[in-house]
């Protein structure tokens, strides 16, 4: 393999330390350092701190015809940034490269001065002694007063990391080209204006001279010209020539070859776009010459001046500033673009690179991104997706055609009927969008306003449903043993539930009454295993008090539909078990029953039942509500908490937007992440925290830091953090109860990093609620911050919470208790180890993110592993399929105990998301897990 035999291996370490001494040693300047990264205190971060400037900045320099190279301005315009770095010297260095050898003046064979539209040059160079490296973008601007009409400028991005500049060369080049185009467009406009003024001056001068000549002619009757007259005539000729020259220049500047920009340089188009975005009235980038001319000629009235015959070009004249050269608006636009660049490339290269790789990889994962990825990024992608035509299946998502091919035998499946693999009752709350048109509108307008509006509607409609007269009562007990025969009505709707599910639900009791449906509950057979009731923290757990016959703990629904029929529908959706369905495989079609427009049915029902005042309709995101609510709740919509009334975008997208939420009590803890590490702040900010090109990047980063830090505190302080996180990951709503709003909000924000999203808009997190909870809250929110109010008037809040306590996990911050199901998996301990040595919130956030990505990968595999969800042969029962699934989860994915439920829950969300036509537009079904809860105390 190697071209020489093995030779002696190294023996003594000491030998490496010494160089040969018996002969003339190699001068160090000709050698290479032995430890490029580890000598003399060098480390991977040290290079960045050696520079004289504190962080990367942008420098604009000019090669002035009067004083030579000079720095004009820096971005950011803060002397602290460039510190003691010699801007004059560096300007001299970067401006000494002249590759824009454009010929301006009278070229051979041309009668008039010719403008040469020079393309920008880009140079990367550096000063290794100063530790400063720069991307330099050279450009030339036109100035009628300047020598040769040109003023050379350059914009330089200066960094201590040369590697960064080369790695980001194309991005830097593209961004600086935009800035340059902006400057040059403004400059052309200003230059044309200048020429027009000059032409007017010249025209006026010509008229004056002409008049004077005529007067002189008339005055002179001697028949020959006086020297004065000749001088005037020469002057006039000179002005005439100048007029022609300037007219030619104006023509040249107006005929700027836009196609050159459009054809080859994408950035020009982008620059145009940027300008448009800024709402500038000017359309100078328009390639249409006539429009262009119009812009150039559209100027305020100008009073021409007389031009003296001998205009002197002296060095004492004042050169135009960059702002004057480029038109104020364009100059401001350029500065904004440069600030954007400075912000975009700020920070350590490793973060920049990783964020670029992240974005590229996330683009390939539209299917799973919605679960845990950042709100902003997901929305970005959605917007991106909307802008384009539907992607090819192979690129965007697994092709449905191929998936259908997998359906052999063909399976009918209902989205609304997913049987949770965690033993639970699923109550589908119809929320599909009403019509395609509406979908389109909503999808194309992903603004926070609309989003908020949608959710407000949703909330309002859900509240509105309280007026319905009927109720559905779901009563549950794990200890019920009686088995009732299925009602005939169950056959009316074909909602799939596997035979296995029926078997496991054998211990259930249901009664259907005229006014209510009572579902007495389903207890998973395994849930009855006594071992399950053993506390994993014996000293800290108290078993939940009651199970059987706990009618107080039951959930009472009020439905606006005809009780019987709707009851049938609900019952059917819960219990019906057609043998031909495969409820757990996403690879299938939606059940036709779902496609039947519900409003028709509802209309019928309402016609038949005079009691129902509001006919139930298929739930629409915007204007329809789920007409079901607790009978015990107030009939009129209860006054909700003030904070929950208006859903700010921050509320909706905590992953990104919470950062700047106005929290009434700001604890110092919020900042502990940044203050705990003061010593490192002194180093250059080139290697500061990752930055994002997104405008909200900074607030996102801050939010991540805080959320991570608070989550870290939580897992260190609360020994029962694992079951709490398990609740969130498995879709069981966690209510954080406390008196202090700030503390509750802080914890909710922290825990929100573990909450999977339903869709791509916002996390189902409600940071603060002060009024009693509704059943719909459990459908909408998976993490709720609830106010504990001591006044007797607010006793309803706690009472309602107590009622649902069986179906939710409750974290009582005041009493430091947690009531939730037991968790014995291995996934959460890896995610939230209280012994972790991770020091900073942002690091912990990154750790959680990577672990959740790993989890998503498992979920994806489980969901799309087609052979898992289909019978291997015709005779294979659903039970066998299910057991195969469980064994796959355990053996192939290495999941233990409750971890299985987490993956199964996330897989359900994934299936829903995948099968929805417009993903993320509806909430999943309401579901309750009938599993025993335990009380954990510190």
């Amino acid at each position: 393999m190697i071209s020489a035999p093995d030779v002696v291996a190294f023996t003594k370490e000491d030998e490496y330390e010494e160089e040969p001494y018996n002969e003339v040693a190699l001068p160090e300047e000709y050698s290479v350092p032995l430890f490029p990264f580890a000598s003399q205190g060098a480390n991977p971060w040290s290079k960045l701190s050696e520079a004289k400037f504190s962080r990367d900045f942008i420098l604009i320099s000019e090669f002035s015809e009067q004083v030579g190279p000079q720095p004009l301005l820096t971005i950011p315009n803060d002397t602290k940034v460039f510190g003691t770095f010699d801007l004059n010297y560096f300007s001299l260095r970067i401006m000494s490269v002249d590759y824009q050898a454009s010929f301006v003046g009278h070229p051979p064979g041309s009668a008039y001065p010719k403008l040469n539209f020079v393309e920008d040059s880009k140079v990367v160079l550096g000063d290794s002694k100063e530790g400063a490296f720069a991307y330099v973008h050279h450009l030339t601007l036109y100035d009628l007063e300047a020598r040769g009409f040109v003023r050379p400028f350059c914009m330089a991005y200066i960094s201590a990391d040369q590697h960064k500049i080369m790695q980001q060369f194309q991005e830097l080049s593209a961004e600086f080209s935009k800035a340059s185009e902006c400057l040059k467009t403004g400059n052309r406009k200003a230059f044309a204006g200048e020429l027009e003024k000059k032409l007017k001056d010249l025209d006026y001068t010509r008229t004056v001279l002409h008049t004077e000549t005529e007067i002189q002619k008339k005055a002179n009757d001697k028949g020959f010209y006086s020297s004065q007259a000749i001088e005037k005539a020469n002057e006039l000729a000179s002005v005439e020539k100048s007029i022609i020259e300037h007219q030619d220049l104006l023509k040249q500047i107006r005929s700027y070859p836009y196609q050159k920009l459009k054809g080859s340089d994408l950035s020009a188009g982008k620059a145009e776009h940027t300008q448009d975005q800024a709402g500038q009235a000017s359309t100078t980038s328009n390639p249409d010459e006539s429009a262009d001319t119009e812009v150039y000629t559209c100027r305020p009235a100008y009073t021409p001046k007389l031009i003296k015959a001998k205009s002197t070009k002296c060095f004492d004249k004042k050169l135009k500033t960059l702002e004057e050269l480029c038109d104020t608006e364009y100059f401001a636009q350029t500065l904004a673009q440069l600030s954007h660049i400075e912000h975009m490339f700020r920070g350590d290269l490793c973060y920049l690179l990783t964020s670029q790789i992240d974005r590229a990889l996330l683009k390939q994962q539209h299917i799973t991104n919605f679960l845990f990825e950042d709100f902003v990024e997901v929305v970005d992608r959605v917007v991106e997706k909307q802008g384009s035509t539907p992607l090819e299946p192979s690129q965007d998502r697994p092709p449905s055609r191929s998936l259908e091919e997998c359906l052999s035998p063909k399976v009918l499946i209902s989205v609304g009927s997913y049987k949770s693999s965690v033993e639970s009752v699923l109550i589908k709350m119809e929320q599909e969008l009403g019509n395609e048109e509406y979908k389109e509108v909503e999808v194309t307008e992903v603004s926070s306003f609309l989003l908020q509006e949608n959710l407000d509607y949703l909330d309002m409609d859900m509240k509105g449903s309280i007026s319905s007269g009927e109720s559905i009562e779901v009563l549950g007990t794990e200890k019920s043993t009686s088995v009732l025969p299925k009602s005939d009505s169950q056959a009316s709707l074909t909602i799939p539930l596997s035979p296995q599910v029926v078997r496991t639900k054998a211990v259930s009791h249901r009664t259907i009454s005229e006014d209510s449906i009572e579902v007495l509950s389903t207890c998973p057979s395994e849930a009855l295993i006594p071992d399950d009731f053993k506390a994993s923290y014996p000293s800290a757990i108290n078993e939940e008090e009651t199970y059987a016959g706990d009618n107080e703990g039951a959930i009472h629904f009020q439905a606006s539909a005809s009780p019987l029929d709707l009851g049938e529908a609900e019952e059917g959706s819960l219990e019906n078990t057609p043998s031909h369905t495969d409820s757990s495989c996403c690879i299938g079609k939606e059940n036709d029953s779902l496609l039947v427009p519900l409003p028709t049915l509802a209309h019928k029902l309402s016609d038949n039942d005079g009691v129902v005042s509001i006919p139930p309709q298929r739930y629409r995101q915007k204007d329809q509500g789920f007409h079901v609510d607790f009978a015990v709740e107030n009939v009129s919509p209860s006054p909700r908490d003030n904070s929950s009334e208006s859903f700010s975008p921050y509320e909706l997208g905590p992953s990104c937007l919470l950062a700047s939420r106005d929290v009434s009590k700001t604890s110092l803890d919020n900042y502990s992440d940044s203050t705990s590490y003061v010593s490192s702040v002194a180093s250059t900010s080139s290697d500061r925290t990752p930055s994002s090109a997104h405008p909200t990047g900074t607030s996102c980063e801050r939010h991540k830091k805080r959320a991570g830090q608070n989550a870290l505190k939580f897992i260190r302080q609360y020994p029962f953090a694992h079951p709490a996180i398990y609740s969130l990951l498995s879709g069981r709503t966690l209510v954080v109860l406390g008196e202090d709003e700030a503390i509750v909000r802080k914890l909710v924000t922290a825990l929100s990093i573990f909450v999977p999203n339903y869709g791509c808009y916002a996390k189902p997190v409600k940071h603060w609620v002060s009024s009693p909870l509704h059943i719909t809250d459990f459908q909408k929110w998976k993490l709720i911050g609830l106010q504990r109010v001591v006044s007797p008037a607010s006793a309803g809040t706690l009472q309602a919470l107590r009622r649902y306590s069986r179906y939710t996990s409750i974290l009582d911050l005041d009493n430091k208790t947690l009531r939730c199901p037991m968790y014995r998996g291995t996934l959460v301990p890896r995610l939230a180890d209280h012994r972790t040595q991770i020091k900073r919130g942002s690091t912990y956030y990154m750790h959680v993110q990577s672990m959740l990505t790993q989890l998503c990968s498992k979920v994806f595999l489980y969901t799309f592993c087609h052979h898992l969800h289909l019978p291997a042969h015709d005779r294979e029962t659903q039970e066998l399929v299910a057991s195969r699934q469980v064994s796959f989860l355990k053996l192939n994915l290495g999941l233990v105990n409750e971890d299985v439920k987490v993956v199964q829950y996330l897989a359900e969300l994934l299936k829903l998301q995948y099968m929805q036509e417009s993903p993320g537009t509806s909430h999943p079904m309401l579901r309750f897990d009938y599993v025993p809860s335990f009380l954990y105390k510190i």
């Binding site: 071209s3 040969p20 971060w45 970067i94 799973t368 191929s402």
Partner: protein, 481 residues
């Protein structure tokens, strides 16, 4: 390209190089700063082509300008600085390596440059580091040679009393030619055989119905695992070009698009030479069934390499980054020292393995078995074949896997950054890191560390520091006490 260029200097010598394939390189130049005349071009290398894209005058004009502003040069002793120009007006990109040296008795500034058309910018950028590293090293040697020759000439002048100053320094040109031609050949081969940015998973082993259809399960696991542990740097050798290329493409799936563009497939008929600095390269064995890797060049690669033989299904890997860098630097220093001491041109021939030095004997047995097993790649391979091939499911799953690796790598960097206050304090808690970041399997840690090394160079050396021959595992054991 502009025609408004001054005529070339009559003194410029030119070497025309015959290349078998298309050359993206327009020319290479060697220029220097003359204290009287300013920047001057000494030598031009250009591929021999029928169509002249850039005249000698234009090349000279451009090369002269690479030294523009270098009168202000403010560099550290021995520094070789890189300048990079994209000149839209001329339609070219230029990469210049600027250095100081002694020639003709004067200390002066020199520039070795390569010129490419601007249309090749995206082709060139991923190869920038390879080209710069290789030219930098030849400059290091050339500088020594210039220095030595001057001394020798001065002695001869004194002895013989003849004026031979004109010839001085000429021999640096053949030395530079010795590296400029391979760089041209490398770029030419990359033009025709580089791996594309987007790889169709159908052309890889990951499209098989089941693991082991194309190659043995254990072999695939070892290959991918070791490939990731050596920073995505691998050499795939074999007798069948098809088989080799399939593995090359498979390994490239685990690289970024830019890294893929810095990887090369093997030729179907004859084999390319090994090129130092590429990420993955396929090489065809000769008729005797062997492929000889040049030791020196393997050592000079920026990252350790995995050697994969698809004929016999063997996977061998070089030591981790910190050891590799240390070995590399030792070898470089030895080579330069040997060069410094050499008394004849024969002694200075390239690719001579330096193993006669009293103090330094390179270990030629640099490839070892893959010792550290990982769980990340194993789990991935165990799982990916459960997904139906032919759809985009496996691509999505692969993207998820890569995302996990990248996120873990960034978390690891951040963890170390926090723990050491950005390098101000030594890192002492490797064991904690492994537990906290769920990297307890040695192979997992190696993979994530290798990925982290690419985005944060020097991380290995910083963490493991001295002694450089302590493996990650040993170091970890030591740290636990």
């Amino acid at each position: 390209m502009s025609t408004l260029c001054p005529p070339p200097s009559p003194a410029v010598a030119k070497t025309e190089i015959v290349l078998s394939g298309e050359s993206p390189l327009l020319a290479a130049t060697f220029a220097y700063w003359d204290n009287i005349l300013g920047p001057r071009v000494r030598h031009i290398w250009a591929p021999k082509t029928e169509q002249v894209l850039l005249s000698d005058g234009e090349i000279t004009f451009l090369a002269n300008h690479t030294l523009n502003g270098e009168i202000l040069r403010n560099a550290e002793s021995g520094a070789i600085d890189v300048k990079f120009f994209v000149l839209s007006e001329k339609g070219v990109i230029i990469v210049s390596l600027i250095f100081d040296g002694n020639w003709n008795g004067d200390r002066s500034t020199y520039g070795l440059s390569i010129i490419l058309p601007q249309t090749e910018l995206s082709f060139y950028l991923p190869l920038h580091r390879v080209c710069v590293d290789r030219l930098t090293h030849i400059i290091r040697k050339g500088r020594i040679w210039m220095h030595k020759e001057r001394q020798e000439n001065v002695q001869k002048i004194v002895l013989e009393g003849t004026e031979r100053m004109e010839d001085q320094g000429q021999s640096i040109i053949p030395m530079l030619t010795g590296e400029v031609i391979p760089v041209m050949e490398l770029l030419s081969s990359m033009k025709s055989h580089s791996v594309s940015e987007e790889i169709d998973i159908a052309d890889t082993v990951l499209n098989d119905d089941d693991i082991g259809d194309s190659c043995h399960e254990g072999f695939l696991l070892n290959a991918i695992s070791s490939h990731l542990q050596t920073c995505g740097c691998s050499v795939v050798v074999g007798s069948s070009a098809e088989k080799v290329n399939k593995i090359v493409r498979t390994l490239c799936l685990f690289l970024t698009p830019a890294e893929r563009k810095c990887s090369r497939l093997c030729e179907t008929e004859s084999s390319f030479k090994y090129e130092s600095g590429l990420f993955v390269q396929g090489l065809l064995k000769d008729s005797t069934g062997s492929f000889v890797l040049p030791f020196r060049q393997v050592m000079y690669a920026p990252y350790p390499t995995t050697h994969i033989d698809v004929d016999v299904n063997t996977v061998k890997q070089m030591p981790p980054c910190h050891e590799h860098i240390y070995n590399q630097r030792r070898y470089m220093r030895s080579e330069l020292t040997a060069f410094w001491r050499a008394t004849s041109e024969e002694d200075m021939a390239q690719d001579t393995i330096i193993y006669t030095d009293e103090s330094f004997t390179p270990d030629l047995n640099i490839f070892q078995d893959v010792l550290h097993r990982d769980t990340l790649v194993k789990a991935f391979l165990d799982q990916v074949f459960h997904l139906k091939p032919g759809l985009s499911l496996r691509s999505t799953f692969l993207a998820q896997f890569l995302l996990i690796l990248h996120r873990k790598a960034l978390t690891l960097i951040k963890y170390i950054e926090d723990d050491t206050q950005k390098g101000k304090k030594p890192f002492k808690s490797l064991r904690n890191l492994k537990i906290d970041l769920d990297l307890t399997a040695e192979g997992d840690l190696n993979i994530i560390m290798a990925l982290a090394e690419k985005i944060k160079p020097g991380l290995h050396s910083f963490i493991f520091g001295r002694p450089f021959y302590t493996s990650v595992q040993e170091r970890d054991v030591l740290m636990t006490f």
